[in-house]
Symmetry: C2
Subunit: 421 residues, 2 copies
């Protein structure tokens, strides 16, 4: 079966001056992948007619499907809609369904009073040569064009609007229109091993992979994801083959293996706690609430996560976590003694089964010779046992915060697994 | 003066299946912009020789400078280095300086014992037709090629390594090699107004802008950034012109204006607190530590931010913040009464000048008719006064967390400004 290829074109000067980070492309790529469409290229261009047209011309040669996001808002820097109308030789007409929907949104959802602006109503004007994709979540509709056997879909750049349109309108229509090969992925999450050492350990296995399978190494804050991808026609056979290879890979990587699913470290922790009907609370100094955020960003967090004390200030460490003045004075906040007391404070004050604590120097200021920037103490424990570990991370602040958080969650999941053996 | 254009090519299958979000391009674009280089396009391609070569061929026609990231790691899915070597007609040679640096990193920085892997040492092999850019932060060096008056720079994809190379090696070299026009940006941060209403309010001004100035609207979680860009040759004149226009724009947008700098909402709060030598603490339920994270992600947070109680569980609200059982039973956790008590709890227990509290339903579960998903109460206060507000956000969980956090910080900065008049 012929591979179906797509290109994603994102539009907006803000992408080219680096003011916004493009998260839309990753989401679109994931959605397309699920239905067997391979994204071959992604292009970002500015709010500039010539550059957008050039991208359309070129990508129609590279791909079967061209997905565009951005450039559909109500303001003057948005030029995509009239451009597409011209590009495909149509003319603008008012769409009654979109018109009604915009009225509904403004009155019932946004709860705005007063007359609507002409620039908002103009969002109901669409090219007469496209299929309109209704955008439940916003005023700018999606647009589906076809030309010379290629499909062009234009979506608004607001992430949650684009997401709704992708899932409700775009994917189902693409599934109807194209015959896709099967693309299967399986991912293993490892921690505590470098990419090179891992590659060395699985070298013979990787070299013997059949040609329709491909392994990717995805390093991220001390974790390495191993993603094995298989492409073919026969889904059942492909699944079996993939499963067979994954069993071998798991055996080869077992000493670093966290889980054989594409989960985040916090999702692994949540899964373990849920299975065991246990709870955790955290005490964070240097991570400043980031671990709490990781533990609450996924739905359903409330049943196993109780709370956090972010004790940035030493007085808060004393008052809310019972850390002793003596420890703070003699060994300082970044010490084994203080993180141990922080764990005890959480267990006592938040009444959780497990507690996790961090204290360190994230930079760029605050380090000294004995306690350099990147030095971190982490403690994890329960009523019976507390384990501690010293880390030395490097370089920039945000990266140190993320590395510390992942290392802490990795210690926690290991501790939970060991306690319940 | 001729505009100097760049293209960024990012390499890696992980970008095309959506497993990683490309943050490198935004950073590179910002750095290039600072020195007057305009990024015209950004391309992402897979770990595939044909696609990378095609991108190189095409982009050499579009731009003066082609920056590549990714594909330089030690594992088998990294193919960029030999490809570039062939593309520019060179051959691989071992670079002694890189070789020594890799040894130094493994022994002194990574603190690894045992013999080094051949695949790591191979990172010291570089094309003989490039200038090697030393990578202080990692084993893969950057590479600088020149051909037909164009510059091609290849950088590793690990963000902090790429960042170090951009700032220390690439930007200074580009500044020497090219004559750049001046590109100036100034940004206003507004809050609490839709893109359309704002556009309507400044319409006449925007239409009268000279041709070398351009305004962009950058909406983000209830904020809209207005970025005015001016391009020209005479820096002093351009600065004066930009300043003149900005004064007019500030007057037109004054009712929604937060600050006339390109700051985040948390940076505005930190700035106000620093000027006033005051402190804040937060009590978070639904935001789960995200406000704490925002307040601590920038350096220097520790002087004005004391801490946070993330009270996800009602027992924690009672024990650590003094929220009453009676309020939780009668009106529930998501209520004006409870967020007011949470603010009082912070002021009392964390001893801060200001306190901020959130409680709401972030979804996708947990809503009901009286308290739907997206309903949030926020309270802000000091010893004299507490202000509360009810919000209704919509749609997905992570977006609700971010919107709530920004709205809370916006309330806080307004409260601080009002108290100190």
């Amino acid at each position: 079966m012929k591979e179906v290829n797509a290109t994603i074109i994102t539009i907006g000067d803000e992408l080219l001056i680096g003011q916004t980070i493009d998260t839309n492309s990753a989401f679109i790529a994931q959605e397309l992948n699920k239905i067997g469409i391979w994204v071959k290229r992604r292009i970002a261009v500015g709010d500039n007619e010539k550059d957008i047209c050039q991208a359309l011309d070129e990508e129609s040669k590279n791909a079967d499907i061209i997905l565009l996001t951005g450039g559909l808002g109500p303001t003057a820097d948005d030029i995509t809609k009239p451009l597409l109308c011209n590009y495909f030789g149509g003319r603008m007409v008012r769409n009654e369904q979109v018109f009604q929907h915009i009225h509904y949104l403004f009155e019932k959802v946004f709860r705005r009073s007063g007359p609507m602006l002409e620039r908002n109503l103009k969002q109901a004007d669409v090219p007469d040569n496209c299929t309109v994709l209704m955008n439940e979540r916003g005023t700018a509709p999606g647009m589906w064009f076809e030309k010379d056997g290629k499909v062009y879909v234009s979506l608004p750049g607001v992430p949650h609007e684009m997401k709704g349109l992708m899932q409700k309108e775009v994917s189902p229509r693409l599934l109807k229109q194209f015959q896709m090969p099967v693309i299967l992925h399986q991912t293993l999450l490892t921690f505590g091993v470098g990419e090179s050492t891992l590659a060395e350990a699985i070298k013979d296995w990787e070299e013997a992979l059949p040609s329709y399978m491909k392994l990717a190494y995805l390093p991220h804050y001390g974790m390495v994801r191993l993603r094995l991808t298989a492409t073919g026609d026969d889904k059942d056979r492909l699944e079996q083959e993939l499963e067979k290879q994954i069993i071998q890979l798991k055996e080869l990587a077992k000493q670093w293996l966290i889980i054989d699913e594409d989960l985040t470290m916090q999702q692994v922790v949540a899964k373990l706690l849920k299975e065991r009907k246990q709870t955790v609370g955290t005490a964070e100094s240097c991570t400043g609430g980031y671990i709490a955020h990781l533990l609450t960003m996924d739905p359903g967090a409330s049943s196993n996560y109780k709370g956090t004390v972010v004790a940035y200030d030493n007085q808060v460490k004393k008052d809310l976590l019972g850390v002793s003045q003596q420890a703070l004075e003699s060994v300082g906040a970044v010490s084994e003694e203080v993180v141990t007391q922080m764990v005890k404070g959480v267990l006592q004050n938040l009444k959780t089964d497990y507690a996790l604590a961090t204290s360190g120097i994230m930079g760029p200021d605050g380090g000294n010779e004995k306690k350099p920037i990147g030095m971190v103490w982490i403690a994890v424990g329960n009523a019976k046992k507390i384990e501690t570990k010293e880390f030395h991370f490097r370089f920039d602040r945000m990266r140190n915060i993320e590395q510390t958080s992942i290392a802490a969650l990795a210690m926690l999941q290991q501790f939970i697994k060991a306690q319940n053996k």
